[in-house]
């Protein structure tokens, strides 16, 4: 049995390495900038969703306010760069750490809330963050910050002539978030989180300090999401509150994981690989004609998948899960 388990972990790692390798070759075939753009966004949302999944999927604390951490990563990086000349790489790490600290500070009161109340609190706090940044003169308020162009360089992490560096960074971030999840899955924290999600009272009786577990999950999750925010800011070369802290980011982090399989290792990647291109394509092909038609199609697809596969798309691949689902349906 242990062999099975170890074999499955190794298999996951190999599949991930192969997929990452194939993805790394994609730019050889994809020359179209528009398609490259979609690939970059897909990888970025896969990474974000994977990070969101740590707190909301594994630990069961559904957050719809992760846009806050995304925005904090973006703003920290650009404020440090434009005001103090700090390289984006340091801003990125700083943003990650600030986001982690804020996540724990917010967790302190919020992790006492349960279920829907926790979700509502996360939405509200992200909206407050958005309003604060919209009115914060020093940070550009609603006008935002334009990142000064200093020429293509890895040092300053900005590129005008090619999108490939962004592509590889997004791929790296996606691999990082996946690997962190993979590693945490077979760790004390991973087990504690799943126990907390399933039954906090029983977890507590088995020596799990529920509150600390949630805090740990929130910190890791927020840190990685903020790194994503810093990347996105560099990628856009311009930020304003709505474009890095809007509610849609919270949704776009949650949806791929929910669609692919919440609380699973492969769910977020799978969900993002389907959802993000779909979002972009529906928008570009049917978005222009009648306002909102793309959103209707998009929404209908999500509803259809959720109805057909409530445990997410990964349940198609995992035999044991699929079996228990069938059982549940016939019961």
């Amino acid at each position: 049995m242990d062999k099975n388990f170890a074999a499955r972990r190794r298999r996951d790692l190999i599949i991930a390495a192969v997929l990452a390798g194939l993805a790394a070759l994609a730019p050889l075939f994809v020359k179209d900038v528009y398609v490259q753009n979609i690939l970059i966004l897909t990888l970025m949302y896969a990474a974000l969703s994977q990070s969101w999944n740590i707190l909301s999927g594994y630990c069961g604390q559904i957050s719809l306010g992760h846009a806050l951490y995304f925005g904090i990563g973006a703003y920290t990086t650009e404020l440090l760069f434009t005001k103090f000349g700090v390289l984006p790489w340091f801003g990125m790490l700083g943003g990650g750490m600030i986001a982690a600290v804020i996540a724990m500070g917010l967790g302190y009161p919020f992790f006492r809330l349960r279920g829907h109340y926790f979700v509502i609190a996360t939405i509200v706090i992200a909206e407050i963050g958005l309003l604060l940044f919209q009115n914060w003169e020093w940070a550009g308020a609603a006008m935002g910050i334009t990142i000064p162009i200093r020429g293509d360089s890895w040092l300053k992490f900005q590129f005008l002539r090619t999108k490939l560096p962004y592509f590889y960074f997004a791929l790296g971030l996606c691999c990082l978030a996946w690997f962190v999840t993979w590693w945490l899955e077979d760790s004390k924290w991973g087990f504690w989180w799943r126990a907390v999600k399933d039954n906090p009272e029983a977890a507590e009786s088995l020596g799990v300090v529920v509150f600390n577990s949630k805090m740990g999950a929130a910190a890791v999750s927020a840190f990685l999401v903020a790194i994503g925010g810093a990347f996105y800011a560099q990628f856009l070369a311009y930020i304003d509150p709505e474009s890095v802290m809007g509610f849609q980011f919270s949704l776009l982090m949650a949806l791929p994981a929910v669609l692919g399989g919440i609380g699973t290792l492969w769910g977020p990647v799978l969900g993002a690989a389907i959802l993000i291109p779909m979002t972009e394509l529906t928008r570009s092909y049917i978005g222009g004609s009648g306002r909102g038609v793309d959103l209707i199609v998009y929404g209908a697809l999500i509803v259809a998948i959720s109805l057909a596969l409530p445990q997410g798309l990964v349940s198609l691949f995992s035999r044991s899960k699929a079996k228990s689902q069938v059982k549940g349906a016939t019961r």
Binding site: M1, K188, W192, D198, E204, S205, L206, G207, S324
Partner: protein
């Protein structure tokens, strides 16, 4: 030698309701003690106070010579208090082995050791064949067994069993009884809340009867079941007169 567990003058009030009043009991090392009493006697409340779900309104609880009255449940588990729940609380989306690993992580920080410990416990509790099954797919008797396995994986000194034998078929109950004996033989003290008298009485070394939140009688099971006060508490005064 001091008792492993001792409650001293424990009171628990919920608003106007007194669930436990001045309860002082002790459990010695290596004993199997039964905590019995009619519905509403305050067994579950006392049980939760000992497990650390909530602190008592008044009084103190000593475990292994240490005052644990205000210690949270997780910390008590680390000191060696393991428990099961009356209404099973399995981690439903996790496999049986993963459920048990959560418990094993209290004393094994390295994953491989925790996993080995968990397999040992599944072997001990007779769940080894179901290791890779999702907890939600277990039958009720197996879920009860999983509760025990999970608690045992924390390597407790004291195991609190909350109605683990209730609602089982006679055969299942007998395997349960055998398991409790095996646990005690492994050197673990057992305090069990139970309803089914004919199963629990032959099993325990000592029985404590609670009624209306107070300790009514305490002693050898054979004496306790004949005690008129116990009969009256369970069946009403009319029956007690005859005895």
């Amino acid at each position: 030698m001091t008792a492993l567990l001792e409650t001293r003058g424990v009171w628990q009030r919920f608003g106007g309701l007194v669930a436990n009043s001045d309860v002082s009991i002790s459990v010695g090392r290596g004993e199997i003690v039964g905590l019995i009493g009619p519905n509403g006697a305050g067994k579950s409340t006392l049980f939760n106070l000992i497990a650390g779900v909530l602190p008592p309104t008044q009084g103190s609880i000593l475990f292994d010579g240490e005052d644990v009255t205000h210690m949270p449940a997780a910390e008590r588990c680390q000191r060696g208090v393991g428990r099961t729940f009356q209404v099973v609380k399995s981690f439903e989306t996790m496999t049986v082995i993963d459920n048990v690993i959560v418990g094993a992580l209290v004393r094994n920080t390295v994953m491989r050791e925790a996993r080995r410990k968990a397999h040992e416990v599944l072997e001990f509790t007779g769940l080894a064949a179901r290791a890779d099954v999702l907890a939600s797919d277990l039958v009720p008797a197996e879920k009860r067994r999983l509760e025990v396995a999970r608690a045992l994986a924390t390597e407790p000194k004291l195991l609190l069993l909350d109605e683990v034998l209730t609602g089982l078929t006679p055969t299942e109950a007998q395997t349960g009884v055998a398991l409790v004996r095996k646990v005690r033989d492994a050197g673990i003290t057992v305090l069990m809340v139970e309803h089914v008298m004919e199963i629990v009485m032959p099993l325990v070394d000592r029985a404590i009867v609670l009624d209306l939140g107070k300790v009514l009688v305490e002693g050898k099971p054979a004496d306790v079941v004949r005690d008129p006060k116990v009969i009256s508490a369970y069946l009403g005064d009319r029956h007690a007169v005859g005895a």
